[in-house]
Symmetry: C2
Subunit: 135 residues, 2 copies
């Protein structure tokens, strides 16, 4: 919300042809400038893709969707989502590892919930953006 990177839109092209492409690949952009400040470093891109990859699963999204509404235990999640309990447990483990959910134990049950409001906000943001994108 604070930073506004790469605001410069992509709507300028035309005029083409003569200001470049004369030599066998005489780079169309200044090589020294290939790494702008806004450009993702490899490391950051890796962290981002890793995180998005964790989100990019139908059942994990459905689990998060459930937990966005209220905390639930493993068995009920399995029933509600019509999934194998083991599968749910495995998915919850990965969600736990990346700190998207936390849990509390109560007797034989383990109740899971979204870790914090950031997760909920991000989840909602994705849903909204994707409603537009895939409309």
């Amino acid at each position: 919300m604070s930073d506004n990177p790469a605001e410069k839109l992509v709507t300028e092209f035309e005029n083409g042809e003569d200001f470049c492409c004369d030599l066998p690949h005489a780079h169309h952009s200044d090589p020294a400038k290939l790494s702008q400040p806004e450009t993702l470093t490899v490391e950051k891109a890796q962290r981002m893709s890793e995180f998005l990859g964790f989100l990019a699963d139908t059942n994990r999204l459905r689990i998060l969707s459930m937990l966005a509404d209220k905390e639930m235990c493993v068995g009920d999640l399995a029933i509600a989502l019509e999934m194998n309990e083991s599968a749910v447990s495995h998915q919850l483990r990965t969600l736990r590892v990346i700190r998207l959910v936390s849990f509390r134990k109560q007797g034989r049950h383990v109740f899971y919930r979204l870790q914090d409001h950031h997760v909920l906000d991000f989840y909602k943001a994705i849903v909204e953006h994707l409603d537009e994108a895939t409309a």
Copy 2:
């Protein structure tokens, strides 16, 4: 690789116990209410995960990061990202298919750019949220 489960925070009271869990799984939530309005349908979760999956790749993110700044041709992207040209072309193809980028041909070159502002907005939103999330 970060194998550091969030196993803390678990410190919750133990009391409870009697207001539920009497029967062998007498669901903790009303079965009739398992599908709330906010709950993702399977179809929507699938579309979302598919879309997120396309984004969940280090090199695709780096390509988008580049194109967020300005349009670029395949060869320059390959050089800037130190990737095989073929790999870049393949990735651009998938980005094209899901309409995240568009292109214009100019002589032997093909210049790619982000498809529209939604893509840029979404990309920025992710970067911001992940800055918080992975900070």
